[in-house]
């Protein structure tokens, strides 16, 4: 049989910098190989996000101006997004999306802008500096190495319930100090990686898809999907 997953592309019309849409394309690419059809819907300003309606969510990075608008609007989706995350909904959040899942971030003009606090991190801003360049990290639990390109002014500090997506092998990471990059909380994966992250690190795409399948079809054996080989693309 074949499977279907409903994917929310959160603010896909506003949060779409640096090829982040490639993550949706990569999810589709691997989903097809797993016999899974993705129904992707952009959920944007003044539109409802209902936790029960989606099996997977993606939240990309945005320009400063767009992100301030999203920071306001996302408060109306806070309860349902938190419910989705707490109930094990798989979500990938990049850059601005990563920041907005946390408590707050400092905007381009130094103003403090709210996130939804679903995850326990917060984000400060560097003074007229950005971390720009190739980055490599290693996830200590899986032993997987991830490749990306970081480009961010934000300095993110993880809370106690979060594990990093990986430890920095080369590059800067969340804040250039503590050696962490990104965050994992339940089935939520966060990162500053562009590249885009799922096109260079198919393993993460696979983790997300498997988590979504197991959550939606709890009685099905997905060992065949789990065995899908992910050749290196980078």
């Amino acid at each position: 049989m074949s499977y279907e997953l409903n994917v929310a592309h959160l603010y896909g019309d506003l949060m779409n910098t640096y090829g982040d849409v490639g993550n949706i394309l990569a999810l589709n690419y691997y989903a097809k190989q797993m016999d899974v059809t993705l129904n992707v819907k952009v959920v944007s300003l003044e539109e409802d996000f209902t936790s029960a309606a989606y099996d997977l969510a993606f939240f990309g990075g945005g320009q400063d101006f767009e992100q301030t608008i999203v920071s306001q609007d996302i408060q109306t989706k806070k309860a349902e997004l938190t419910k989705f995350i707490e109930s094990g909904g798989p979500l990938l959040a990049i850059c601005g999306g990563f920041q907005l899942l946390g408590h707050y971030y400092i905007g381009a003009d130094g103003e403090k802008l709210p996130g939804i606090g679903a995850l326990d991190h917060y984000t400060l801003a560097q003074d007229h500096n950005r971390f720009i360049g190739n980055i490599v990290i290693k996830n200590q639990e899986t032993g997987e190495t991830y490749h990306g390109f970081e480009n961010h002014q934000g300095l993110t500090y993880l809370g106690k319930d979060e594990r990093p997506l990986g430890n920095v092998v080369s590059g800067k990471g969340n804040n250039g100090e503590d050696g962490t990059e990104g965050a994992i909380y339940k089935n939520v994966y966060c990162s500053y990686f562009h590249g885009p992250i799922l096109t260079r690190n198919g393993d993460i795409a696979k983790h997300l898809l498997i988590a979504a399948l197991q959550r939606k079809y709890p009685d099905v054996d997905f060992s065949k999907q789990e065995a899908l080989p992910i050749p290196a693309t980078f």
Binding site: Y18, L45, Q63, F65, E66, F149
Partner: protein, 449 residues
């Protein structure tokens, strides 16, 4: 001219002569020397000219070339800067090289980098500005579209009487109240519908109330007859209207502006915008539509970016790609080809290409999947990225040749089954490819643009 300006001008002109005579180059160094001796030199050099400044992220070079052609129909002497010399030093050099006009007040049509507009307007009050468009640059040189526009406006603020001739289809050019007279150009060839831009589009927030803009008609990216269903903000009245879009091929476009028929020897909707901008400047300066048509017909060499190279009988078209909107437009343009073709994608990530290759995922390569392209070749220093991009876009493995080495790419090109091959390449990949083709004797020089 003051004594200081005189000395500075002499030094600059001498250095230009020296560089060109003995070193065959140097378009910014003479300007640099002159600026060191007299930082205010542009005031002296530019005072004699009526200046048109052309700026924006995409299309500056061709719009400038076309505008010069159009204005030549009426004005005998026009000064312009060579491709790429669009920053302060290059502009000073341009004025230094100018021969003193015999009669009348000459025109200068200058392509000016967005952040350098202020460096011109500090010294010169232009007669007109042309705003082509503002798209996000993958290199993140100046950052966001709003920051880029503000840089332009900082320069325009010093010339409040200059007429702005702007792309009316781009919402950002209607976002700020300005004291200048403004004329807009745009596409007005479609009946009204109600749609949104596709999700992965930049700059779709209403500048007035921050809701998502809708469109009565769209050309590409966020350009079109926009309106805000929430607050009523909408595209301004157009002074110059593209009234009919005719046949488009990769090497030609037919269209009507204000009811007058035109043809240009280059494909791509983005080039119609460039022609529309040149038409608008021409009309603003009193050039008649028939003269503009002559100019468009007579100037095929300004479209030199799409040179066709003969490689042992294969017609090879190398096209520079550098940012998502440009890439999308090139993909759309080659999609209008009625003949079969093969495709080569060459990706590098040196500084001049942009060190982040993520932007290739913003380009809609998926539109090629339906074309049944017999052979696709991917190569360059970042061949892995472009290879996976095309794999995800649906190019089947049995038609896809992966070849990092550009010399071998040339060998593969000779073997394809089609007569025509499009090579899309980033800047340094294009230079490397041209050098190889030059070394093998297929092109005369290493540099084509």
């Amino acid at each position: 001219m003051s004594f200081r300006s005189g000395v500075a001008t002499f030094a600059g002109k001498s250095s230009y002569w020296f560089l060109h005579t003995f070193l065959h180059g140097g378009s910014s160094l003479p300007g640099k020397i002159t600026l060191k001796l007299d930082p205010n030199i542009l005031r002296t050099l530019g005072a004699k000219y009526d200046v048109v400044v052309i700026t924006g992220t995409n299309g500056k070079t061709l719009t400038t070339a076309l505008t010069v052609s159009v204005l030549h129909e009426k004005f005998p002497t026009i000064l312009t800067n060579p491709t790429g010399s669009n920053m302060e030093q290059g502009i000073v050099t341009t004025f230094l090289n100018a021969k003193n006009p015999k009669t009348g007040r000459p025109l200068a049509v200058l392509e000016v980098d967005e952040a350098n507009v202020i460096k011109v307007t500090q010294y010169i009050e232009p007669k007109a500005f042309v705003f082509t468009n503002i798209f996000r640059d993958q290199m993140d040189r100046y950052g966001e579209i709003y920051t880029t526009y503000q840089k332009i406006l900082d320069g325009v603020a010093l010339a409040p009487k200059a007429t702005i001739i702007a792309n009316g289809d781009s919402p950002i050019f209607h976002s700020k109240e300005l004291p200048n007279p403004i004329e807009y150009y745009g596409f007005d060839d479609q009946p009204d519908t109600d749609m949104k831009a596709k999700p992965n589009t930049d700059g779709v927030l209403c500048p007035n109330c921050e809701h998502i803009l809708h469109y009565h008609s769209l050309t590409y990216s966020n350009q079109g007859k926009y309106f805000c269903p929430n607050c009523g903000f909408s595209r301004p009245e157009l002074t110059y209207r593209l009234t009919k879009l005719g046949a488009q091929t990769p090497t030609s476009s037919k269209f009507e502006i204000d009811g007058h028929p035109f043809k240009i020897q280059v494909g791509g909707t983005y080039n119609i915008y460039n022609a529309l901008a040149a038409y608008a400047v021409g009309r603003f300066m009193g050039v008649e539509p028939e003269q503009i048509s002559n100019a468009f017909n007579a100037n095929q060499q300004v479209f030199g970016r799409q040179e066709v190279i003969d490689v042992d009988g294969k017609r090879v078209t190398i096209i520079l790609v550098k940012n998502p909107v440009g890439l999308d437009q090139v993909l759309h343009m080659i999609g209008t080809d009625t003949q079969p073709f093969s495709l080569v994608g060459l990706l590098n990530a040196n500084y001049a290409d942009g060190i982040d290759t993520s932007w290739i995922w913003d380009g809609d390569f998926e539109q090629l999947a339906d074309r049944d392209i017999p052979t696709v070749i991917t190569g360059g220093e970042r061949y892995k990225d472009i290879t996976f991009r095309l794999k995800v876009a649906g190019i089947p493995d049995d038609r896809h040749i992966v070849e990092p080495n550009l010399e071998k790419v040339v060998d593969e090109i000779k073997k394809v089954t089609t007569d025509h091959v499009y090579v899309l390449a980033t800047y340094t990949a294009m230079l490397q490819m041209r050098k190889i083709l030059a070394d093998k004797g297929y092109v005369k020089e290493g540099l084509g643009i």
